[in-house]
Subunit: 263 residues, 2 copies
């Protein structure tokens, strides 16, 4: 059995994209990744700003945005258009043969509109299937997909979809063909202990249980870590969580939090 | 020498895209084209509407829009995001493995920002080079590119670019590998004679000279026809101009205006 080729999938969180200098730095470092690579990006503040300027009221339920028809259009414009194509042209200028896509392109990610019960979040998709058939042949030619957090239902409707979920689902599917390293990058240095404040360098599933119990890990970091373990379970080799501006150190294992199987 | 495979490139004008029912009809008919196909779309009113709602004033010079930085963002959102991804998800729902791209994606179309003299149109691109290297391998697998009227300068800047020019440049480049039929579809039935009002079924270059002299063809149709003849000169086999809602008849040669070499 020959070893699978390496692939690094970097998910860049929305807040990084709000900062032009940070975005440039991250794209510089992303460009330097020598192996096959994929970038998944979040949304950021731009959609909220455009919604305000367009007088489209944003409804939040339990801290989550409701994607009504007008908000969906904004998401498609901002995530699928402005952010996606800006990253693509930035990567092209650095010599990376990038292609900007979302779940409908190449039939990549099909999702199901989340049921309206108990809470109607509107045009939000839960991922059902990833089809790599049309995308895979591009990768050995060096093509670098830049994926916006949007999917489709296969019946013509675009759905707003969590970028972490997209990164996860793609990483899992790609791990059948590649040795996949998944990097969740954002504006924090990694998983910080709520008790010591320090970045936890490595978390196994048993450590995760203890960290949750002790309250050292809580809030929004819990679903992020659940996602990371789910990725490991579906065949991803390694998951790293950390600061997007430290991408080389994250990749070298000298920064961020590494999520791994028990040894 | 083996015959080249057929490819039909359909350019859909902006006004068609303002009408949901018309867009559905056109996508239905486009889906039925059996050979390799490419769709290039224009802008339509959506960008003007969004600009008005965002309070971004639109400056027109000689009937042409000036693309300042804010207007460019709107073009990227609306053309590269909303319109492009809506067409892609519509085609996917019809079983067409579409991929939505613009000039920066796959390094497809590089343009030069139009000089600010004599008139500064802002972020508008004149096409310099088409590179099919990364796109061509997708086509035999049935992938159908849907191309937005945007290019890039190769240095990270996106440029607003005329959709007819994009259709033309792509058709010319593709004709080195395919027998290309180019269809400019819009809301009119073809090239209508300014004198008789009837659709002119066929125009050769010598007929075009006579039609211009007699005033039977004038205005915006002249650059469209110049484009069509330029396409023929660069190797495109056939150019048809006509009503998007009559696509099957246009393709069968029973509607629209056929632009062709002298016999």
């Amino acid at each position: 059995m020959t070893a699978k080729p390496l692939l690094t999938l970097v998910k860049i969180g929305g807040n990084i994209l709000n900062n032009e200098a940070a975005t440039r730095e991250v794209l510089d470092e992303f460009t330097r990744i020598p192996e096959t690579k994929v970038l998944v990006h979040g949304g950021g503040r731009a959609a909220t700003e455009i919604a305000a300027r367009l007088d489209v009221p944003q409804t939040m339920i339990d801290g989550r945005r409701v994607t009504d028809a007008e908000t969906l259009k904004i998401a498609v414009m901002v995530y699928g258009g402005l952010i996606n194509k800006s990253i693509v042209s930035g990567l092209q200028s650095r010599g990376v043969p990038a292609i900007g896509i979302m779940g409908a392109d190449l039939g990549l990610i099909r999702a199901r509109k989340r049921p309206a019960n108990p809470v109607d979040y509107g045009f939000v998709g839960d991922i059902e299937a990833v089809s790599l058939e049309k995308l895979l042949p591009l990768l050995p030619a060096g093509v670098t997909p830049v994926v916006a957090p949007l999917t489709h239902d296969g019946a013509g409707t675009i759905l707003n979809t969590n970028a972490d979920s997209i990164a996860n689902a793609l990483a899992a599917a790609l791990s059948q063909h590649y040795e996949v390293r998944l990097v969740y990058s954002f504006e924090r240095n990694g998983v910080e202990s709520g008790t010591s404040g320090e970045v936890i360098p490595e978390i196994t599933r048993s450590a995760f249980s203890r960290l949750k119990e002790s309250g050292a890990v809580s809030g929004g970091m819990i679903p992020k870590l659940e996602n990371a373990f789910a990725a490991l379970d579906s065949g991803v080799s390694e998951v790293v969580i950390g600061n997007a501006r430290l991408l080389p150190a994250l990749l070298a294992g000298s920064a961020g939090t590494r999520i791994c199987h028990e040894r």
